[in-house]
Each structure stands twice: as structure tokens, then as C-alpha cells.
Symmetry: C2
Subunit: 141 residues, 2 copies
Amino acid sequence: MADTVDCDIRQSLDRISSRMRRDYSESLRELNLYVGQDNLLSRLWSGDGITQMQLCEHLKCEPPTVTNMVKSLEQNQFIYRKRDEHDARIMRIFLTDKGKALEEPVAVKWKRQQEKLLDSILPEERLLLRRLLKQMESNLL
Amino acid sequence: MADTVDCDIRQSLDRISSRMRRDYSESLRELNLYVGQDNLLSRLWSGDGITQMQLCEHLKCEPPTVTNMVKSLEQNQFIYRKRDEHDARIMRIFLTDKGKALEEPVAVKWKRQQEKLLDSILPEERLLLRRLLKQMESNLL
DNA sequence: ATGATATATTTAGTCCGCTAAATATATACG
DNA sequence: CGTATATATTTAGCGGACTAAATATATCAT
């Protein structure tokens, strides 16, 4: 009984997540972005010049993942890299004007998808939902 | 205000999903499986001899994805493929004994992760959570 | 019966994740 | 000073997802 419900929750989460990722990915292609890159840029929009390690922490992914994403974003001239003056191991990442210009269109797409996801879910329900999700997040740590 | 909550929900879902995928993936490596393959096998445990197209539908992914997963699973001798007698375009997928033997250990791992995820969330909350997730799922269609 | 269309699968190539191992630089300790 | 260790990044290679295009077979309509 409870098992069926629990199982549905786990699978439901998977389905929502992969479906969202897929839709969002498709939508971002119009901006010449791949899914995941928007999250990296998002961190830069709130302040650039940070290191790849800092990006790792924010994206909760491993260094090689960041290396590849950064490489791709650099090739498309959304960002550029500069070696740190005091520590030659470190690469600092900066937005180009082209990269800065993406902030608004990405926000629009993000918001649109968010609204689609939460359609017809009431504010109180959203609060409760968030609480339960936070609980699950901390359960996984 | 509402925006912050909504945004958290979307990001929370992403974090839970990727974290779960990561942990589960690691746990499956003990069985020589990769994440995603368990889902394919799961469909076969409830009846094998189905086509790759049917697997696509169940996994909600594209044909090339199934081709690759099937190839990998075949190389590890968890499944085997047989061309359909009446329609030579079709490949039918069957479990080997080695593949059948994975059902229980996978179920154990799945259950363990599920319990971790839902720890300290009450039965009523789980029911509500499921309802909201179902709602979000249908919103995305 | 033949040519056009539809279906099932594969191939090639991309990005996002990962791990393991290599590289380069910095720092700490004897 | 020099060696050992720690840190930041890259390289190589793999699986899961995708798209676009190729292949093979089946079916449908003329």
C-alpha cells in the first residue's frame, strides 16, 4: 500500500525532472544554449570573475564537467577566461556582452516553464510542497 | 515573493533528482549496472520478448538511447536479442538467467533509496505529495 | 508489380554527468 | 633549499540523453 505510493513518488520525481529538462533544453536551443549552461551563466550574472572550482560548488558537479561547459560557452563567446594574476593554477571566468545579454531571455523562458509546471497549484500548496521537497533534499545528504 | 517559492520548487526538484540519480547510480555499480538500465530491465521483468520501440515508450526516451542501452546490456549478458519471425525489422528483447537474477537485488537497492528519500515524511504527507507531483506531471504534457 | 510511404533500428556526432589519471602551480615542512 | 603534499584544471574515456541521417524491411496505392 504505502509502497505503491512511495514508489510513485520516486518515479514521479524522475519523470517530472527528465521531462522538464527535455522541454527546457529544447527551449534554450533558440538562444544557442544547452541545458545546464544557463545555470552556470546564472551564477555569473550574480557576479563574474569567479573560479571554476567556485562554479563546481554552485553547480554541484565535478571539475571536468565545468571544464567542458566552460569550453563550450567560451567557443560561443558567451564568456571568456583569464588566468589569475597571483595564482597561476586558477582560471577566472567572465561574461562577455553577448553573455550578459542572455540574462533576460533566459529568465523569460525559465519563468514560463515554471508557470507551466505549477499551473493550478495553490499558493498554500506550493509552500507545503516546498517544505516537503526541502525535507527530501536534506534526507539525501 | 511567490516567485521565490516557485523558483525554489523548480530548483529543489532538480537538485533532488540529480542527487538521487547520482547516489542510485553509484549503488547500482555494485551490480554491474548503470543508472537507467535498471528501468529497462524492470520492464522486462514484468514480461520480456518485447520490441525496442515498446521499450522506448516505457522509458520515454528515443530509439537511439534504447539501442545503446540494449547493446551494453547484451554485452554484459543480462539480455539477448532475437529478430522477429514475421517482421524482420523488429528486434525482440529477452532476459538471460543472469538478467532475471538481478530483479531482487535491484528491488532492495531501490527500496533503500526510496526510504532514505521519504524519511520522516508522514503517510498523509506522502499522499498529498503524490497528488501534487501527479498534477505537475500532467501540467508538463 | 512497382514506386512511394511508413516503421524499426542503427550510425554518427553532440552535450551533460561521471571517474581516473595527468599536468601545472602553490605551499608547507624538514 | 628541496621534497612532499595540496589545489586547480585538463585529458581521456564512458554511459545516458538527444538529433539528423542512413539502412532495412513492410505496406499501401496505383
